[in-house]
Symmetry: C2
Subunit: 199 residues, 2 copies
DNA sequence: GTTTTGCTGTACCTATGGTATAGTAGATGC
DNA sequence: GCATCTACTATACCATAGGTACAGCAAAAC
C-alpha cells in the first residue's frame, strides 16, 4: 500500500459517493492526485480493479464499525435484547451525526450498475451482505432464546431487514433530500425489534 | 406519442433495468429499434430526456399499481388495518410473481447516479417518493384513529419505511442473488404493522 | 398544394477508458 | 558499487460513446 495508491482510493471514493462510479473519470482522479494516467494504471489494471479495492476497503471499515458499535452495546447491557436495542440506537446516532447525511453505500451503488462490474466485484458485494446477515442473525437467535417472538418471523429475513432498511434509508434521504431519513429508518427497525421481542 | 418513441422507451427500459443507465448505450438502443441516431435525437434531445420520460412512465405505472392493489384490498375489508394488511400481502405476492424477481426500481437507480442526471430528473424522483409517502401516511393515520399504536412512532416515517423496505429489498435480492428477498421484506414490514396496531 | 411530422444518412467533434512503450529517480539487495 | 526492482513520468495512440449539424425525403395533416 503506497501513499499514492491510498490517495487515489480516497479521491475516487469521494467522487464516486458524490457523483457515481461512471461519472467519476480516471483523468479527473489523476488530475486531483497529481499523477499521470500511467501512474493510475500502474496501481489498478482497470477501473474494475479500482472498484474492487474500494469495495474491499469500504466493507472492512463497515465491519469494524459494526464491531465497535455492538461490542460497546454489549458492554452497556448483559441482556441480548437490550444490547441490540442500544446498538441500533448507537447506529442511528452515528448515521445522524455524519455531516450532510450518510455518504451512500458503495455496496448498493455497485448493485445498481450491475453489468458494468465484473464477477469479482459482485462476489465481494455478496460476501459483505451475507456477512452482515450472519452477524445479525446470530444476535437475533440469542435474543429469541430468551424472548419468544410475538410474530412468526424468519430470523434470517429479520437480519436482512436491517441491511435493507439502511440501504433503503439512504435512497430515501438522497431522493427526498433529507439527510436524517436514514437514521430515522433505523429507529423504525428498532421499534419493530422492540415490539417483536419485548414481553 | 409515436410508435417509435414508445419502442425506444421499451428497449431502453429493459436495458437500463438489466445493466444500468450508463451501460445502456444509445447506439445499442437505436440498433435494436432499427432506427438511426438522428431518429433517436429527434425524440429525445439527450440521454437525460430519455431518463426523464422513462421515470415519468415508471412512476405512473407504479401509482396505478398501488391504486389497484389497495382499492382491491379495501374491497375485501372495511377495516382500515385489515385493508392495509391485505394490501401488503397482495404487494408481496405481486413482487414474488415477477419472473426473475423485481426488475429493480428506476427511482433508486437514478438516485445512485446522482450528478449524472439533471435537476428535472431529481425533481421527478422526489415527487414520486413524496407521493407514496403521502398515500401511505393517510392510510396509517386512518388506522391509528381506530387502533392506537403500541409504540410512539412518526407515521410519516412509517409510510417512508414501506418505500424504503421495497427499495432495500431490491438491493438485497440483487446483491445476494435471491429474487424473492424483496417480497419477504414487504412481509416483514407487514408483520411490523400488525404488531404496531393490532390489539 | 404546402407545411409539418417523423424520420434517414453522413459526417464530424469531444471525452473517456484503455493500451503500449520508452525512460527515469530513488530505494533495496548482494 | 553495480544491478535490480519499485513507483512512477511522458508521449502517443485506439475504440467507443454521447452529442451536433445538416441535408434530404416520404407520408400525413392542414
Amino acid at each position: 500500500m503506497t501513499e499514492t495508491r491510498t490517495r487515489i482510493l480516497d479521491i475516487a471514493e469521494r467522487g464516486i459517493l458524490a457523483k457515481g462510479f461512471e461519472a467519476t473519470s480516471i483523468e479527473e482522479i489523476t488530475a486531483e492526485a497529481e499523477i499521470t494516467k500511467g501512474g493510475f494504471f500502474y496501481h489498478f489494471h482497470d477501473k474494475n480493479a479500482l472498484a474492487l479495492a474500494l469495495l474491499d476497503r469500504y466493507i472492512e471499515a463497515e465491519d469494524q464499525l459494526f464491531d465497535d458499535i455492538f461490542s460497546r452495546a454489549e458492554d452497556l447491557s448483559d441482556d441480548p435484547l437490550q444490547a441490540m436495542l442500544i446498538g441500533l440506537k448507537l447506529l442511528a446516532e452515528l448515521l445522524d451525526d455524519i455531516p450532510g447525511g450518510h455518504p451512500g453505500c458503495l455496496v448498493a451503488t455497485s448493485c445498481y450498475q450491475s453489468r458494468l462490474f465484473n464477477t469479482q466485484v459482485h462476489e465481494a458485494n455478496r460476501r459483505a451482505l451475507l456477512g452482515w446477515r450472519n452477524r445479525f442473525e446470530t444476535m437475533f437467535q440469542t435474543i429469541a432464546e430468551t424472548y419468544p417472538p410475538k410474530d412468526k418471523v424468519n430470523l434470517t429475513d429479520l437480519a436482512d431487514m436491517l441491511s435493507g432498511v439502511v440501504e433503503g434509508g439512504i435512497i430515501l434521504s438522497k431522493a427526498v433530500g433529507d439527510p436524517k431519513a436514514s437514521a430515522r429508518q433505523v429507529l423504525m427497525f428498532r421499534s419493530y425489534v422492540k415490539l417483536l421481542f419485548q414481553r
